[in-house]
Structure formats: structure tokens, C-alpha cells
Symmetry: D2
Subunit: 378 residues, 4 copies
């Protein structure tokens, strides 16, 4: 079978800076290009090869109050099960064409599970994680290992692992999912399989087997020594994250340079098998901004999604400025300056600091030698 | 500034398998989603998370005769210089929306330089290479090192190196360029800079300095020891590629298992500093199919572009089947089975084999743990 | 200055299998070799290049009761301070020529610190660790970070870090030190420096700063992201090691294959920054053999030193067989089969299992592609 | 079987700086140590843990004229064959106890093969190489691949590969062998096996199969892609080494900074599969010192052996100073300053430069984080 597609190319000879003079010959040449499915570099080089990244995505903030309200409604009228697979409702960035993409590479959703529901087993090459901003009662079952989910917990889910979710409790629960769906859609490497209809592990233990094996720093089970591209630790519990951030701020107060910048503590979730990112394509971090502190405006290649875990503050992303509170989610597009200011104790929260969960596509950029970071000059 | 974009989301409650029953409540829920810029996973999961990669790109073949004819015309009526930068004419895959994308990740073009023309210095984060299917007379100048280009030569150009092209000869010359423009456009990591207007190196040496330093196998200049993500060797000469392939086929005849499969010799262009791909995002290879030989149908995640260097044969890509000859270029989309059959000596060429240059986005997939290969069962 | 050393070579023409016939010419040739400082391969090839490793070291066991008694005596009559540096008493393998070498590559000692003593600051390229089989009250100060030491704790000390030990308590304390002194002595890469006479950190905190920063699994302080060849975590606490081993045996009972072999739980101490061994040259592990269990006889290239942490059992190393109890230390030379049998609950200990701390030179062999392991056939 | 070795420990209570006062209690303590096979750190810390490496080896030079004369004599009276395996005569460093060790880690020998002799197949874990200072006519057969050996060629031989040597010519040939015998003897990781008595490959091709597959820079045979710890390229030919060094000096003259220091060109032999050292434990390099040039005195941890390939000059190693000529071999011990001065054209050689082949144990030190280099201050 020869080539049969009609040409999609449309070239208009136009009188513009950097463009060749509009002549009948040029018009004819462009017709030739259209027929042969060709597009000259000079036609649109500024768009293709800009001086610096100009993101297709817009900065945007989603209010958790609205998200949770809609998720609850969905819980009432949309069933969970094979086919739709998950009651997950994704953020659609306002300038990404109405696609369910938070950023050009990242998918972010609120997932909601009603009492006694089970989201069935499946697996996919997409790397995923869950993060819990409030509530508890659901167990994520990964390769038959039931992993409880509670406020503040981070649960990575490396591509191609079987997983299901079950809610044996009597109340609904919501959490957020992050995946590299848009990225894998673009590079076209995605596989998906349905698993068994029945859940093979209905226990509701307090800790997962993964945590029993991998949950202590620097203690590798001898039977599992060896590199794995995805973290074998399936739950990073809030109590440890919280304590790690508290300790950083305490050490800072005692005069040690251990924070990212004054009043800004942060941890990266890492794979105990190699010290690198938990997932091959997604970076995940937790940031704590002490009361009244403010971060330096930063530009990075690649995009991020944040969720406010606790506290209130002001977020600046390029020209956008939002006051945020618990659960709010927002997007920082590539190369747009980003900074955070924690409300100074007037916020009434116990903690007096602003806690932010973050995920980004940085591992992609770093592994391909494309990462760049710049502190914005004021 | 608060969120100000209008919502791009359009959700239609529809009566379809896997979709919730169309009720007023669902319609209302969908309106809520639209307002909040949300899209549920169940709405289009089959598209987002297919069972296997279904490429947005189509298999397609561009005839070199047509390409070169149009390039020559462009040479007559379009000047080269600052702004347009290069007289490069890119392949536009028929199903990629009229964008200058050969595949979702790769840009491929024919570039053309008239006698005494200079394409000016610039640099960009996009990784690039040149491959010469015919002609000579141009020097690519990379960081002041003039590198001659001749038939069969492969010339990598790692991101962010300064480069220009000059044609001091009295005849025009064409070659192909491969870049990761679509990929970097998608992940938004692209920077670009104009260089000096004047070329700082107008010599026309027979070999580049890069070759003098890095052109002998296993001999690393002591002054430059240490890893580099991009190959310091700026030209891989045809005489060596040709000899390597000839030797593989000769060893095969002598009974040694050194080819990929019977009658199929191949080399990968590698970075002498680490033995890995020459560029962080682009794999480049040269394949020789002996007269009458045929390759096993192969499916791979990720996409490739090929150019026929010599000989004739038949290419099968999914349902497409093309008879190809020197210079022809074609695309193999992700997960579409691909095989080659060399014409059996009837082709009249001296060589009696089919020579193919190939480039692909495999390094991206491999580094992110997304590569998969399958030999198609007949 | 020309060569001036007298020749150390002595060659005797001898009538033996594989040796050339003893003739006047051979005698003369050997004289020539002696004068020129040459030794032919055929003269002693069986010793130089044996069919398999034949260790210079012997299996040997040191009883903790004797070690601690002598250490106490040393505490009474030998002061600690600059010059001697440490009250550390090293195991001398019986067949290593009266050198303080537990094995050809490893140094192992009991160190003893009396009340209110300080072992002064120094640093050296030798990699080191401490392991505490009983007692507490001493703080190891590493680069000004005071690290408490208690029973069961493992404390690595990467080469070239400043360190001192202080005992602010009112009772003496002993522990064991492991270093790569013999190895570095052989490859001649050793540097040593005295530090300040005065200790700069006399606090006695319950946890070290290192633990506050690095002590939670998979949580990397953002400010310190990046590879380090030596573990930044300076204390691996007994409560976590104990719990990890207990959990492995519990999971084994529940039917999961998580132990090394039935009844044999084990963890490797690893660097949270890369998941590899805590020290570049020394591997450290903790093994628990359940009551009545027995390990398969194993041969490995490279040597190990063990200390019994708890329980009693029988150790077999080649032809040697020892009944061991708390604190006993023993050596397993290269390629000598080794197995352990835990006494079956008759031992009266609470635990009912045999706990063993182990260190070895395996990282050296693995990094140099020289590691080999074999399960001995019975 | 309990511990049965007599104690090798001898401790003498002595009145010396840093030692405890000699008292009856100390004498008794030392007796206790002797009985229990213990040696306190304070007894000999200065030897065990020196301030900087103090090599057990001495600088020494062996004259090639003497080496070749003795090798010829050995050729007359000592047969080659199974048992003795090789007619290889090793350099014995004057201060290494009459052992066949050029340095504490490296073995270096002249090997000699008479017309029509075959040195039989064997293999061993020791990593090896051959370097040819003069002559030709022998083929090294590696895993059935016959590799010709000629002046200037470097031929690596990774551990555990089968190999033999045959001399089908009518004249004798000598070359040097380098191995890590002392190092592997020390870490006790050595295995050795006899191969078949009969050579399975008696061809005498001009190039090896290894060179046909791996001998072109940056062209990796697709069938063999993937990391290997040892170089698959079995011969690094003199013509390429020579040309690489010539090109470096030519580029230096043209104003490019490509040499190690003025007049000092050098290449490292590397594994095309990873760009690292050709052998896991041995570094190999070739240095060219232009007429009249002189290198800066350098101290490095680890030891080296050099052979003069061509030219004459003066070598300074610590307090030793030698005038050297073709074939001369010398040792640079750890942390002893080393420099070279090429005779200024008065030497009568064609080349007018001093060419040096070098091998060292640097990969061991680098992989274990023990490498240190210092330019000696004048």
C-alpha cells in the first residue's frame, strides 16, 4: 500500500520579517511543499525553537473546596468498576486544548472512593502515585500487598505493577493521583492490562509488607539487594515526613545550614535502592515554609503541580498570584518564575507554617541533559 | 492576578459503553467539571491509556527525487541567513496536524546550501545531527572546528554547541538534519541563541580537530578524560562505517555470529566517552541488508526515521509497503511492525545490498524505563 | 642516583615437577636473574596463580570474655591520647605473620574508653565503623556532630572525616572497630592527620544531626541531594535493625519469600544516597538465624569478620567448628566454606535466635569484577 | 575443631615516645595480648597509619639490554609448555622481599617465544596485557581469535578469557606482560584453569576478529551492544597510537590546548563499551614527550610501571635519576614524585621525542575513592 493520507500541510506565503519575499515562485514552491508534506524551518522557527521555553500551559489554581464538592457528587452518581476503572477527575490546564493535562507532561486528579467500593486490579506503564491531603480508610493493593492510606502519606506506584484500591470503611475517602499520562501519550510507550476481577488481598493491616521490608533508612533486605528503577517502598508515612521537616527547621535554628534557604525545609522522596527519584519520570517532594518566610523566585525547565497540605499563604507564578489553603492545587509551567510566601502566624493553624506537596517532571529533563534552573533576579 | 482563562473543557454526557447513564445529574456534574476545568478519567480512558501504543503518526515515505527537486528550487528563491537561519525543509507526518514533525518526537529535514553561502552561527538545546546521502563541499563549523561533510558521513551535534555551515565550493550541497525539536517542544526545555555574525574559522581542512583527537578506537586523549553526555567526535566517516559493515558480513560468512540476524549487519554510532548513544535523546544507526536478505518484523516503542543510503528494496511498515531507492526517507511509528527486504542483486548497484541510515528516540525511552521490543509473530 | 639496592632475589635450581632440568646453564641463568632482580613465572606459578583462592589467613575465633578482660586491664594501665590515639586492640590472625590483621584486608579491634576520657580528633583515609555489642555512654564526634553509641548500634565512619570519641559517663565502655587498614596499607593510599586538641562539640544529645537529616527511609534532605561515596547517616540504631529482622521472619512465617533462606533473615547496611554499601571498601550486614535453623555452606572470594551479637550456636569455617556466645568474634577467610547453626531455644536467651554482625571486603571485589560465590555441595 | 595455631604475636614493652611506661603490669598485659593473638593500635600506629603513603616498593630501573639477553638465554635452555605455562620473567622490586612483584599490586615480565613454539591455552582471573617494544611474528589467540602482535601494539587480556600464544615464524620474539597478580594474590580472588592442549585456531590473519568488530571509533556492532567490564577490542595498533600522539602535538603547535602540558601528549587506552579503563584493575597509557620537553613532578597514590618505547631521556623518581633508552623499564612507587625529561634532539633518534608506555593500578584506587594526585611544588 502506497502513501494515501491527504496532506495536512498549509503554507501561506506572507510578507513578514524573516520571511522570503512573496513572489509567484514562492507561492509555487509552497504548493510543492504542501503536496510533498514538507514545512520549511524558516516558516515558523520562532515558535519551534524559541529563545527560552514558552509553555503551552498556563499557571492555574484549583480550589480544593470545589474539587471535593464535585468529587462527592461524582461519588453519588458515577459507579466505579471495570471500564472506567477509577473515579478520578483530572485537572485540565486552561491552555492545553481541553485535554485532561495539568501540564504538558503530568496528569493530576482527585480520586474518590465510596464506602465498600473497590477500584479493580489493573496495571499500566504509566508511573503513578497517590498523596492524601485528608481522610483515611482506603487500602491500595499493590501486587497483593495492601497498603493503608492516611492523611499526609505519599504512595508511589511504579509503572506496570498490578494495583487496586479498596475502601472497607464506612466513609468515603478522597486523595490525589499523579501520573505521567501526557508524557507517555506523547512518546507513545503506553501499555495497559486488566487484572483479575476479584481482589486477592482483602486484609487491612496497619503497615504494608513493603514498609516492613524497606521502611527503615539504610537497611536493605539482603534477599532483595540490587538496583530497581522504581521504589520498592510503597508508603512514605506522614509522621516521618513531618518529623524530617521539623528537624530541619530545628537544626536551622541551632545554626546549621541544612535548609534550602532560610525558613524553607524540604525533602525529596527517594528510592531506597538507589537514592534517586521514586519514579523514573516523576519527582516528588515535600516543602515546608516557616511562618512569615518567603522563597526566592525560581525558574526551572519542566513543569510542576503542587498541593497545599496545610497552612495558608500566597503563591506567585509569573503574573498569577493566589491565596491558598488546605487542598488547593496549582500548576507551575516551565520557565515561569515561582515563589511562595507563608502567612505569618495570623493564619490560625496550629502549625504556623505552609506545607506543600510537589510533583514534577524533572527526572525526564535531568536524565536527558535538559534541566536548567535559575534564580530570578529581583 | 486570579485565574482568568476561559475553560477549554467540553464534556458531553453520552450513552456509550463504559460511560455512566445519561441523567440530568450527570449533565449537571459535567457542567461543574467544565466550569472547574476538570475531566474525569472514565470519559476517555481508552484514548489516554490504550492497551498498547497507537501512534498519532502514520507510516509515510518521502521520495528523495521530490525532496531534492524542491530543495533546489528553494535554493534559487529563498536566501539563507540570520532569522530563518537554515534552508532546512522538514518532513511533516500526514497525521500530526500539519506540524513539521516526522514523528511525535523527531524532526527530519533536507538542508540545502548554495555555493559560497554561509548558514550563520547559532546554538540551541535541541540535539542535532547531519547525515550526507550525496555530494560534498560543505564544512560544518562546531565551536570553531571546521568539519568537512561528504557522502556517507554522519555528524552529530550535541545540544548547546555553537555551529554554522559554510559552502566554499562552487556547487550546491544537500544533506539531512535530524533533531529532537518536537520532543523538546513538548517537554519545554528549549533555549536558542544567535552567535557572532562572522564565521571565526574559514579553513577547509580534510579532517576536523575532533577527529584528530577522538577518531581512533579506544584512544582517549588524556587531557580530556572524563564523561560527557554528548559525543566529542564530530564526524563518523563513511569509509569506517562501510568497512565495519563489510567486515560483519564477511565474519558472518566465515561462520561467526556477529550480525543482528542472517544477512543483516548493523552498527550503532556511539560516544567514545561512554559507549552510549551519541546524543542524549537520539539514537543513530546504520544497517546493511545483504542482497536477498529480509529482516524479521519488529515492533518497538518509540519512533524512527530512515533514509536509504544505497541499493533498493521493499519496506513494510504496518500496512504500508514501499519500493525504495537512494535518498528515500520513511517513518516507522511506535509499535508498528517494520521489516526490510533487500532486492536480490537485480538492482544493478555495485553493492548488491540495501544500506539504511536510521535515527530514533530510543534513548528517551530506555532512560525512562519505557523501552519495549517485540518480534512480530508471523 | 642509580639503582643501589642489593638484590633480594634468591633462586635455587631444583629438581622438581614443572621445573627445568638442573644444569650448569640453568644455575648460571638463575644467577643472572638474581643479579638483575628477576624471577621467572615457572619458578613458583602454583603459589602465585593457584587454581582457586588459598587464603593466607586462618579461620580463627576470639572469645569476647578474654577480649573484654584484656581491654579492661589496658584501661587501667594505658592512657588514651595523642600519639597512640586510641585504646584499640586488634585481632591478629594466627597465620598473617604477627601483623594486626584479622584478614588480609580487614582490621578488627576492641576499643575501650574509661570514664571521662576523650580519644582525640584525627582523620585518615581508612574507612572505619564502630559496632556496639554491649554498654553505652560514649559519643563519637564526627565533624562536630556528637553521635551516641548504644548496644546494637552500627556507626559508619567514611574515610577522611574528622572524628573523636568522648565518654562523659561514669562507667567504661567497649565496642568494636572495623577498618580497611591492611588493604590500604597494601595499595599504599593512606593519609592521616591530627585534629584540634580540644573537642569542639561536647553535647550529649540522644540523636545525632546525621540521624535527624538522614534517618528516615526514602526522605532525602533537598539541600543535600546528590551522590556521596560514603554514607551521610552516622548511626544505624539497633531498634530498627532488630525490627527489620523480626519483620522478615514474621513475613516468612506468613508465607512470603523474603529471607535469604529458611530461618535466615538479614539486612545490609546501605548508604541512603545510592543504596550501595555504607563504605567504599567495607560491606556490613546483620544476620539473624532463627532457633534451630542452619545456613547452607557458602564459599566467597574475599574475607569476613563476624561478631556474635546475641544467642548461641555453632559456627563451621572449613575444618574449624566453634560454639559461640555473645561478643565472640571470628574470621572467615576467602573461599573457605562457612555455615552457622543456631542453638534450638535451649540457649536460655529471650530471643531464641542467633544474631550475627558481619563485615567483609566484598565491595572491593565487586567493583573490580572479582567477586565469586558458590554454595558448597554436601 | 577449636583454634589450634600457635600465636604469631610478639610484643615487646619498650621505652619509646608514644608508648606506655614499661611496668610489670604492661609486660603482663602484652603477654596476655600475645596469648590471645592481639596487637594494640598504639604499638605501631605510625607504620600502619602513616601521614602519607610510604611505599614498600623502591624506585628501580631494569635495562632492556640485560632483560633481553637473559630472556634469550632462557629461550635456549627452558622449554615452554604445560606446567610452567609461559617463558615469562618477572621484575622483582628490590624492596618487596624477593617476590616477583614490580610494585605491591603489579606484576611485569618479559615474555619470550622461540620459533614454532606454542604457549598453551589457559585462563585466569588475573587481568593481563601484552605490549610489544620490538619484533613481531607471534599471534595471541584469545577465545579462538588469533591476534597478531607487532612493535608498538598494545593487547589487553581481560581476566577469565582463554588464551594461548603461538609463534609460527622462524625467529624468536619478546614482549612485556603486565598483570595484577600481586593485587589478586593479596585480596585472594584468583582462579586458574588449564585449557585444551591443542590450539584451535592456527590461522595467522593480519587483523583479529576483535579489530574487525570493534576497531573503528564510535561504531558499536549492534549485536554486541551492552556494557562489558573488559574491553572487547583485543589489539590497539601502533599506527593509531602514534598518529593520535602526533596529532596532539600538531594541534598544540597550532595553538590548541589539547596536551597534558606543553610538549606532553598522551592517550589512555579505553574500553569502547564504556570509555573507561581497558581492564578493571589496570590503567594503561602511552605518553610522548617532545624533544627537550619536561614534565611537572607528580605524586599519585598507587604505583606504575613504565617501558621506554623510543627515544632517550632522563627519568626522575624521588631520589633516583636514570638515563633511559628503548626497552628500559622502571617503577614509580606510590606517592613518590616522578618527572621525565626528553633528550633534546641530540639523541640521534628519528623521532626526536621520548615515547613511554605506562601501566598502573589507578582504577583500583579510583573505584574505591582512594585516588589522590598532587603536582610537586618546586
Amino acid at each position: 500500500m502506497p502513501n494515501t493520507h491527504p496532506t495536512p500541510v498549509r503554507l501561506e506565503a506572507r510578507d513578514a520579517p524573516g520571511q522570503p519575499p512573496v513572489t509567484p515562485e514562492l507561492v509555487e514552491l509552497y504548493q510543492g511543499f504542501e503536496e510533498e508534506m514538507l514545512i520549511p524551518l524558516w516558516y515558523d522557527i520562532g515558535n519551534l525553537m524559541p529563545f527560552h521555553p514558552i509553555s503551552k500551559a498556563a499557571p492555574h489554581m484549583w480550589s480544593w473546596k470545589n474539587l471535593i464538592k464535585l468529587a462527592e457528587k461524582a461519588g453519588e452518581i458515577v459507579a466505579v468498576g471495570r471500564g472506567g476503572e477509577r473515579r478520578a477527575i483530572a485537572l485540565a490546564n486552561p491552555t492545553l486544548g481541553g485535554r485532561p493535562y495539568a501540564t504538558p507532561t503530568l496528569w493530576a486528579a482527585i480520586q474518590y472512593l465510596c464506602p465498600e467500593e473497590v477500584a479493580p486490579y489493573h496495571r499500566h506503564t504509566q508511573n503513578a502515585f497517590r498523596f492524601v491531603v485528608e481522610g483515611e480508610g482506603v487500602w491500595t493493593v499493590v501486587n497483593s500487598d495492601p497498603v493503608p492510606m492516611r492523611r499526609g502519606d505519599f504512595l508511589p506506584q511504579g509503572g506496570w505493577a498490578w494495583h487496586a484500591h479498596q475502601n472497607p470503611s464506612q466513609h468515603s475517602m478522597a486523595w490525589i493521583d499523579g501520573l505521567d499520562i501526557p508524557f507517555q501519550y506523547e512518546v507513545e510507550a503506553t501499555f495497559f492490562e486488566f487484572g483479575p476481577e476479584e481482589l486477592d488481598a482483602k486484609e487491612t493491616p496497619d503497615v504494608s509488607r513493603a514498609e516492613m521490608l524497606w521502611g527503615r533508612a539504610g537497611l536493605t533486605p539482603l534477599n532483595f539487594v540490587g538496583p530497581t528503577p522504581k521504589s520498592p517502598l510503597l508508603a512514605y508515612r506522614w509522621e516521618f515526613t513531618d518529623a524530617a521537616l521539623r528537624d530541619q527547621l530545628q537544626l536551622e535554628k541551632a545554626g546549621h545550614q541544612v535548609t534550602v534557604e532560610p525558613g524553607h525545609a524540604a525533602v525529596r522522596y527517594t528510592n531506597p535502592n538507589n537514592g534517586l527519584d521514586v519514579l523514573p519520570t516523576i519527582r516528588t517532594e515535600f516543602h515546608r515554609i516557616a511562618a512569615g518566610a518567603e522563597t526566592a523566585p525560581l525558574k526551572e525547565t519542566g513543569s510542576s503541580v503542587f498541593q497545599v497540605f496545610d497552612g495558608t499563604g500566597t503563591i506567585t507564578v509569573g503574573d498569577s498570584l493566589w491565596n491558598v489553603e488546605r487542598g488547593d492545587m496549582f500548576v507551575v509551567p516551565s520557565w515561569v518564575p515561582f515563589s511562595v510566601k507563608s502567612d505569618a502566624g495570623q493564619d490560625g493553624s496550629d502549625s504556623g507554617h505552609l506545607d506543600l506537596f510537589r510533583f514534577s517532571d524533572s527526572p525526564i529533563l535531568e536524565k536527558l541533559d535538559l534541566a536548567r534552573v535559575e534564580v530570578e533576579k529581583n
